[in-house]
């Protein structure tokens, strides 16, 4: 059989991308995960979404009472009882009652008989066996366990269902006697891991193997959202990115000129600078202009509250409140520490999906460190960037620098490569004062000025001043004014000098004219030719003749 592996989509957002289509049909997937990792939920969601999509499924659980499962999933909005009534889902409690007596050998054939009968009756396409290791503990010897697993495996293969076995790894770290067997049984093995780093919990999913199929090989974060699981693949980065769109105004005419028309729609714009350099003002300028044009903008803030931000930029003459009221502007503000990076990512993604903004601002990416470290911040940003790029949404990243480091200090190479336009806002210190300058370091897909320019933050917002080039650098503030004065004086001096020279010239011309007049006069009196020729010395002339 060389036909392609058929796959059953999990319908779990993100997971099918990682699995390149879903879980294998007619084969067994083993999900390995500790308690609280969400493995039962993943397996149930596979059945639930499968049943909704027309593929009936069977759940056999050995750990939790079915009523708990029904209640827990009801909080996610899943209506299992209705699916059960419609025979699209069958839940079986496989637990052995604690008062049950054991006497002699037994097997799991009862379960297999139920599964086989039920599967035929309802035309099942999917099956989950949850916490199999719990019932395997009833068997005394590893040989018995292997025999049971073989029987299950044989039946699953014959039944042609897409099967999931969830297994909890032994808690003491030692390999349980059947872990090897689970691994050989699974054509696909997923590992779920819930851990806490720097007091922030993160959940990671990894595909350990997938016979006959490609798969994303990284560790992927996943979260339990209010409607179910959600995984965040990063492997598809760049594959579905929309090309850059047309020019879109920065909100500032002078800056538009320097950028040859503005930013590009759908671009990733990085505004970097020291605290107070004007990043937020520049971003708010862009946002206000976009909303003015009737576009939508989502402002993701980690530094200030919505009210503080609106107030602060209003002092620069930028009014955001009206746009908030018309619904063109939305805020998503939270402290980076308030939740894990995955939760931050998914709540941002949900806002992006619900609000459908044209532009997204993140203020500031430097704060994302506080979600739990550099790697976590990087992944959060990459995913969000990716999500925006796929939707053709302009994304503006504000990066607060600490002084000594480069303008992309947080970003790492991968983010740098995704940045289309980078503007560095800086201070220039001279002559006892500090002035603001900015420089366009990069602007993909368009020519741009690479001159450093001075700007001011005025009551009217961001104001670019005229360029003033001194010796090798832009002059700002007093230095610029002094240079202007110096040049004015120099120009005056020069024009004065020119006047003097002109007078001198005039004087010389007059002298020349007088001299010429004298010569002509003398020639008339002597009858000599006035044409210029060497005049013979009077004393020598007689001698020669």
């Amino acid at each position: 059989m060389l036909k392609n592996l058929e796959k059953a989509p999990t319908h779990i957002p993100g997971l099918d991308d990682i699995l390149q289509g879903g879980l294998p049909r007619g084969r067994t997937t083993v999900i390995n995960g500790g308690s609280g990792s969400g493995k039962t939920l993943l397996a149930l969601e596979f059945l639930y979404r499968g049943a909704l999509a027309g593929e009936p499924g069977i759940f056999i659980g050995f750990e939790e009472p079915l009523e708990h499962l029904r209640q827990n999933t009801a909080t996610l909005g899943w209506d299992l009882p209705t699916l059960e009534r419609e025979n699209r889902l069958f839940l079986l409690d496989g637990r052995i009652k604690p008062e049950t007596l054991m006497s002699g050998d037994f097997s799991l054939k009862g379960l297999l008989a139920i599964a086989a009968g039920k599967s035929k009756e309802m035309g099942a396409k999917r099956i989950v066996i949850d916490a199999l290791e719990v019932i395997l503990r009833l068997f005394d010897t590893p040989q018995q366990v292997r025999k049971e697993l073989h029987a299950i495996n044989d039946w699953l293969q014959a039944a042609g269902l897409a099967a999931i076995l969830t297994v909890r790894p032994s808690s003491h770290g030692s390999a349980s006697p059947y872990e090897d067997f689970f691994e050989s049984m699974g054509d696909c093995i997923l590992a779920l891991d819930a851990r806490v780093t720097e007091q922030i919990s993160t959940r990671r999913l990894r595909v350990i193997k997938y016979r006959g199929s490609g798969f994303g090989r990284n560790e992927y974060p996943y979260v339990i959202t209010p409607t179910g699981l959600r995984a965040a693949p990063i492997s598809s980065v760049g594959l579905r990115h929309k090309p850059l769109g047309e020019k879109v105004s920065t909100g500032n005419a002078r800056l538009d000129e320097l950028l040859d028309g503005g930013y590009r729609r759908g671009a990733c714009i990085l505004l970097a600078g020291l605290p107070g350099a004007g990043k937020t003002t520049l971003a708010a300028t862009f946002v206000a202009a976009a909303c003015q044009r009737g576009e939508r903008a989502l402002y993701i803030g980690f530094e200030e509250s919505e009210a503080a931000l609106i107030h602060n930029v209003s002092s620069a003459g930028i009014s955001l409140r009206s746009h908030l009221e018309t619904g063109r502007l939305a805020f998503l503000t939270s402290f980076p520490e308030s939740q894990g990076a995955e939760e931050h990512y998914f709540s941002a993604l949900e806002r992006v999906e619900a609000f459908r903004p044209d532009h997204v601002v993140i203020d500031a990416i430097s704060a994302c460190y506080r979600m739990g470290g550099q790697q976590i911040a990087f992944e959060y940003l990459m995913r969000l960037l990716n999500a925006c790029k796929e939707r053709g949404i302009t994304i503006m990243l504000l990066n607060q620098l600490t002084g000594t480091t480069s303008y992309m200090e947080i970003s790492g190479n991968e983010i740098s490569s995704m940045v289309d336009t980078a503007i560095l806002l800086n201070y220039q210190f001279s002559l006892g004062e500090t002035n603001r300058v900015f420089q366009i370091l990069k602007s993909r897909g368009g020519k741009h000025s690479n001159q450093k320019r001075e700007f001011r933050l005025t009551d009217n917002g961001f104001e670019v001043t005229d360029v003033y080039l001194g010796e090798g650098d832009v002059l700002t503030g007093v230095a610029r004014q002094r240079q202007e004065e110096k040049d004015r004086i120099e120009a005056l001096r020069l024009s004065f000098e020119i006047k003097m020279k002109e007078l001198e010239l005039e004087r010389l011309r007059l002298i020349q004219a007088q001299a010429a007049q004298g010569i002509a006069h003398r020639a008339l009196m002597t009858g000599a030719d006035v044409s210029p020729r060497p005049r013979p010395a009077p004393e020598d002339s007689g001698k020669e003749e």
């Binding site: 079986l92 007596l101 006497s103 008989a113 019932i135 009833l138």
Partner: protein, 112 residues
Amino acid sequence: MTTKTLPSAMNDPRENMPFYRLRLFVAGDEPNSLKAKAVLSRLCNERLKERCEIRIVDVFEDYQAAIDYGISVVPALIVESPLPMRTIVGSLNATDKVLAALGLVEKEGDYE
């Protein structure tokens, strides 16, 4: 029911001995199931006389009964009456355990 009263009950089964309603779940002809069937029929003949009713359920033929009775492992013996309901799983090779579960304690009479 106490074990003390049992020997006399056994001496006169018709007086005090309850009626046993038993249901044995098996999986076709697999060895453990055959063994359990044999043990149970011997037990009924020797100890319960006619005061028992045994129903054999093959899970491969009637999986719905297995669902209804919550049977995931076989063989499994369910004592439906007298109450309370009890379940004994396995090939029933530990006869004393089975008898205890049925409220019949082996050798008890020997001490009297």
